[in-house]
Amino acid sequence: MPNIFKPAANSMAKLSLLLGVASPVLAISIGSAISRSSANTGVGMPLDQPIPFSHKHHAYELGIDCRYCHTGVEVSGKAGVPQTETCMTCHSQIWTNSPLLDPVRKSYETGMPIKWNQVNKAPDFVYFNHCHGAIQKMHLTAKGKPFFMVWCLECHNQPEKYLYKDAKNPQLSPRQQVFNLYSKIQTDPEGHEMNEAERNLLEGTSQAGESLETGAKLVLERGLKKAQLKDCSVCHH
């Protein structure tokens, strides 16, 4: 009776055993890599917009205050894309013939709003009303973070890592601190005068803010109740 299995069959058997173990692991790793990749999350990929608006140009290079366009930002949890009229306060005077601004002029004439494509969308079931990264560095607006819950929890777990207070202007309220930082950028675009924490915040790196000790002090000072930040209903209601 001839051998049914050739010697190579041993190797094949070993290999298939190995594959049997490895393939689910591989499948899961690949699947999770895909789901975390930009292809799925859209991070860093600008969307087509009716007008190629640049935050970097307006907020950083020209130094326009955020609140000039985003009027509700200090009272409302919604970003509030500015009305066409706001664009036209300047663009009725400058760049009046630019073809890029055609949709703005058209909207102003016809009264039909400009339809922007939404870049950052909080996932369903989440009520989110604060904070964004270094948008003043973006020419075309793109998603900066994938909006996975683990990202939310980074800060909700350890707010001390992300709190900031300008040591030179301690009298400012937490809200004023934010705008204070942005006005610093405009006077000091390269960040020579800034400390490391401030530079981190401006670059939008994930390790930002003050040192942990200072942060912990700020947590107490601002009356943050850390435990409560992780309560489900703080964001899900």
């Binding site: 292809a39 509700g72 409302s76 009264g111």
Partner: protein, 974 residues
């Protein structure tokens, strides 16, 4: 369980069970007392009527599981498949609007001949919620359920949206041109009739009189199906002037009400509820006597109640008048309970502040006599003229119009009103008209060839000659701060008693016609919230059966849902019955308002039209009717299952209600709660977290059961309507329910000292309507500190927050429903069929919800309107998810964010839950229980405070204050 027949009790069993009971027992339904096998099975089964998983075979089960797992994986890649959403900013943003921030507009909700000041919350021009206006005297910050639900009418899918001419779309221009042409062609307006509801707006009154100046012969006909004809005519007889009484219940010690349901169906009910409960909350309390011909919420609050026939109301008033020594009043034609009247009269006589209230359904003579009684007692009542004179009764006016139509004398008929419109005057309208509509004001002004906006019209009426800033402030506040000219009512006509109408005498059966407790005269018949709101006393939804007493049901062999034929004159109505505890004998109550034939997709086929029996002669009540049990046949069933919610979510067999008599409670107090054996470890600190700890206190003493809270919760928390078929299966979604408990005294055996026995002469059982006591108990999630629902959830979808909320995380929930099984209070609701997205279909009463067809694009378009009602701060829940009361966590979060911005703690009273806000009697108080100075902490320290099912040691955050009654000792210990 699928073909269960609830509501099938045997009255003999009920009677025997009650007769054997010692002490005071509270029960919710006749089934519960009789302990029918059907009832027990229903209680045993947490989700009655569900499909069994065993109906799927093994292969299908594995297929479904496989598919579910695949799809679950796909959900992670949503963004690959979902289209990008658009952001659409304003072109020119209105100054006050900040996207994401609510604006509140002050306006007025007119209903039942009174105006209720309200604030409407609006997001980006989209009104989503109505709340009371705290500075309006009729509201004081509260509303009733009608005001809460009227916001849904704004998005009624069946609203007329265009001008039609003979069924073809037309335009306002054509309408106005032709109408004006026709009006000009008349001889000084002869043949012009304007049919309107009772006019309450001074501006509309001014516009109408302007129109009448141009057309002197034009007639304005005011008509309401629930009108004040008898009130005005009674006043006319007594004082020679047609005036409305306005009862002031603030600080009143003794109130005697004769069919006067001031808690729900009288004008200015919200104000009177508040005044009544404010006094009720004091140590000395007030005392309420009610004589009524159909069970009402006011009767349910009464310390002493007598159920009589409609025709006997007048006799009772006459007896009271005689007893109080009012000259010239003859005895009534019916027998009265002399002891009761005597006790009431002496109580009224000795009280410092008192009033006698008579409802609109009472006879003309009753109202005239009430004028004399209140005059003799110096009752707490003032008199006011209607906004537009009503010289004749509304019924006569309508009859005149009908006659003119039949005789062909009507050239132009303008019908105004019938639909609350929200394009109420404001400089910036609350909402731009959704459809091509005009307000009644604008229409009347356009008909005078000088079209103006509502704002201009109101300003012209109230603002002329005054400074504009003052007018704008009025508009902003919703209240005009000019003292109303006090009308000094003409003196009582001394000989009026001689000119009273002849008394109705009736023996035998009477019919009482009453407006539907939720649909009113039918104006909310197409409002899903109102159709599905359990009617306060019967807990009925989607239907309006004839209400009869248990004795009559027993005599005729009827149980809930059995059909009867009611014959009055030449008309016969076939209608199911609902056995109502406390209903007077020999009376059938018919609630009108349901059964409209041309109503729209929601109210289509709902209920019965009882108006066919309601004639001008028998407007409020009719004698001489016959009732016979209807025969069933091959084609026609003689039984309809009633969608009653009273048997759902039962906590039967436990000590739930605590009620005491005032004096005994003052002496003995309440037994201290015994600490039961706890399954859970005790906590070291009272509150381990340093922050607000939320809790609620509900005062059973002043809860009237009006259901404003339930509707407010529905509006605030995006709670869907599910339709009659699903209510029958026990799936109603209201996060809050109001349990209604009855008790009767113990039939002469072993009388508990706490028992209230009005009169030992009465046979104390369920057949005696006078012996029945009612307690209302609002119930939502108790937010137990040691919550039984939490440990049983396999996916941690319900967990505790540091502030003491029992949170429900919808995106974690996989729908095992273990939590609901383990909840002792039955407050969790499961969304079986994606009710919100498919809401219009459930409201359609479609028997099989999966097979609907949308007939036209226009209808579809109308349905999408309903999406605009959603509160943007609350998740719209989908299928397969458990949900429940959150303590309005979105409001807590909003307050916390505001407090953080201002770097302070949340103040007491800053977080107001939707139910608390709506409550006319102020029975619900919410706040921080860790702060011992907060309002809620003070209430929890009250002697009456108790925890529902406290023996379970679940440490509920919601606790109750026991009910107190204030019976008259003279009636009690005879």
């Amino acid at each position: 369980m699928s073909d269960k027949k609830l509501n099938k009790f045997n009255l003999q069993e009920v009677r025997e069970t009650l007769a054997n009971k010692g002490g005071q027992e509270y029960w919710r339904s006749m089934d519960q007392v009789a302990q029918t096998p059907e009832f027990e099975a229903w209680v045993e089964d947490e989700f009655p009527n569900r499909s069994s998983i065993l109906q799927i075979d093994r292969r299908d089960f594995i297929k479904f599981m496989g598919a579910s797992m695949m799809l679950a994986g796909m959900a992670g890649c949503r963004s690959m498949f979902l289209p990008t959403e658009k952001i659409v900013p304003y072109v020119n943003k209105p100054e006050d609007i900040i996207p994401g921030k609510a604006l509140r507009f002050a306006t007025v909700f007119t209903h039942n001949q009174s105006a209720l000041g309200v604030l409407v919350t609006s997001y980006e021009g989209r009104p989503v919620k109505i709340e009371g206006n705290p500075s309006h005297p009729n509201s004081m910050g509260a509303t009733d359920h009608f005001a809460q639900a009227t916001i849904l009418d704004l998005y009624d899918p069946d609203r007329s949206r265009e001008v039609f001419k003979k069924n073809l779309p037309s335009s306002w221009d054509v309408l106005l041109r032709e109408a004006r042409g026709a009006m000009d062609a008349t001889d000084k307006g002869k043949g012009i009739f304007i049919l309107t509801e009772s006019v309450l707006s001074p501006t509309l009154a001014a516009e109408l009189s302007g129109l009448q100046k141009a057309f002197p012969a034009a007639a304005v006909v005011q008509y309401d199906a629930v009108n004040q004809d008898n009130v005005l005519e009674g006043s006319n007889i007594a004082r020679g002037a047609r005036l409305h009484p306005r009862y002031d219940l603030g600080g009143v010690d003794v109130i005697a009400s004769f069919d006067g349901d001031f808690i729900q169906s009288m004008p200015e009910n919200v104000r009177m509820s508040r005044e009544f409960s404010d006094k009720r909350k004091t140590v000395e309390m007030n005392r309420l006597y009610v004589v009524e011909s159909s069970p009402s919420l006011t009767g349910a609050m009464a310390d002493h109640r007598r159920a009589v026939k409609p025709s006997q109301i007048e006799a009772n008033l006459r007896a009271l008048a005689q007893r109080l020594g009012v000259a010239g009043i003859e005895s009534g034609a019916a027998k009265v309970d002399a002891r009761f009247i005597a006790a009431m009269a002496s109580d009224l006589g000795s009280a410092a502040k008192k009033v006698v209230i008579v409802g609109a359904s009472a006879s003309v003579a009753s109202h005239a006599i009430a004028h004399a009684i209140n005059e003799a007692l110096s009752g707490s009542v003032t008199y006011h003229a209607p906004v537009v004179r009503q010289d004749a009764s509304q019924i006569d006016a309508l009859r005149g119009l009908t006659k003119a139509i039949n005789a062909g004398q009507v050239g132009v008929l303008v019908v105004l009103g019938g639909n609350p419109t929200f394009d109420a005057p404001a400089q910036q309208p609350l909402i731009a008209p959704i459809h091509n509509t005009k307000s009644a004001l604008e229409l009347v002004s356009s008909l005078q060839n000088r079209p103006r906006s509502s704002y201009e019209l109101v300003k012209a009426k109230h603002g002329v000659g005054k400074d504009t800033a003052q007018f704008e402030k009025w508009l902003n506040d919703g209240v005009i701060t000019v003292a109303e000219k006090a009308v000094s009512a003409p003196a009582l006509n001394p000989g009026f008693a001689a000119s009273l109408p002849v008394q109705k005498v009736s023996s035998g059966l009477e019919i009482a016609f009453r407006p539907d407790p939720t649909l009113w005269d039918g104006r909310w018949a197409n409002n899903g919230w109102m159709q599905e709101l359990p009617k306060p006393l019967t807990t009925l939804t989607w239907d309006n059966p004839a209400l009869i007493g248990p004795k009559m049901a027993d005599d005729m062999g009827l149980s809930d849902g059995d059909h009867v034929n009611i014959t009055l004159g030449k008309q016969t109505l076939r209608i199911p019955v609902c056995v109502t505890v406390g209903h007077p004998d020999d009376v059938v109550t018919l609630n009108f308002g349901n059964g409209r034939t041309e109503v729209g997709s929601v109210g289509h086929q709902a209920g019965q039209n009882v108006n066919i029996l309601r004639t001008g002669l028998g407007f409020w009540d009719a004698a001489g009717a016959t009732v016979a049990k209807a025969a069933g046949g091959m084609l026609e069933s003689n039984h309809t299952d009633l969608a009653l919610t009273q048997t759902h979510h039962s906590m039967e067999g436990r000590d739930i209600i605590r009620a005491f008599n005032r004096d005994e409670f003052a002496k003995e107090g309440m037994e201290k709660e015994e600490e039961g054996v706890s399954m859970y470890p005790s906590q070291e600190k009272e509150f381990p977290f340093d922050g607000p700890q939320w809790g609620m206190s509900i005062d059973l003493n002043v809860c009237t059961g009006c259901h404003a809270c339930v509707t407010a919760c529905q509006a605030e928390n995006n709670i869907p309507v599910i339709g009659r078929m699903h209510v029958l299966k026990g799936r109603e979604m209201h996060w809050m329910r109001i349990d209604r408990y009855y008790t009767v005294s113990a039939g002469g055996k072993q009388v508990d000292p706490r028992d209230e026995i009005d009169s030992p002469n009465h046979k104390q059982d369920v057949f005696n309507p006078d012996a029945v006591k009612t307690v209302m108990m609002p119930l939502a999630c108790m937010h137990c500190e040691i919550a039984p629902c939490e440990p049983v959830c396999p996916v941690a979808a319900t967990v505790h927050s540091h502030e003491g909320l029992n949170q429900m995380v919808y995106n974690r929930c996989v729908g095992t429903r273990y939590c609901s099984n383990n909840c002792p209070y039955k407050v969790r609701r499961f969304n079986f069929l994606n009710y919100t997205d498919n809401q219009p279909n459930f409201m359609d009463r479609t028997e099989v919800p999966y097979t609907w067809t949308i007939t036209s694009s226009e209808k579809n378009n109308g349905r999408s309107l309903l999406k605009m009602i959603a509160n943007p701060n609350v998740t719209v829940r989908g299928r397969g998810v458990m949900e429940k009361c959150t303590y309005c966590v979105q409001r807590i979060n909003e307050a916390r964010i505001e407090a953080k911005k201002e770097q302070r703690e949340i103040k007491d009273g800053e977080v107001v839950t939707a139910c608390q806000q709506a409550c006319p009697s102020g029975a619900i108080v919410f706040g921080n229980i860790a702060d011992k100075k907060s309002a809620v902490s003070k209430l929890k320290a009250n002697k009456r405070n108790y925890t529902l099912l406290g023996e379970l040691n679940t440490k509920n955050r919601t606790t109750y204050l026991a009910k107190l009654r204030n019976p008259n000792p003279e009636l009690e210990n005879a």
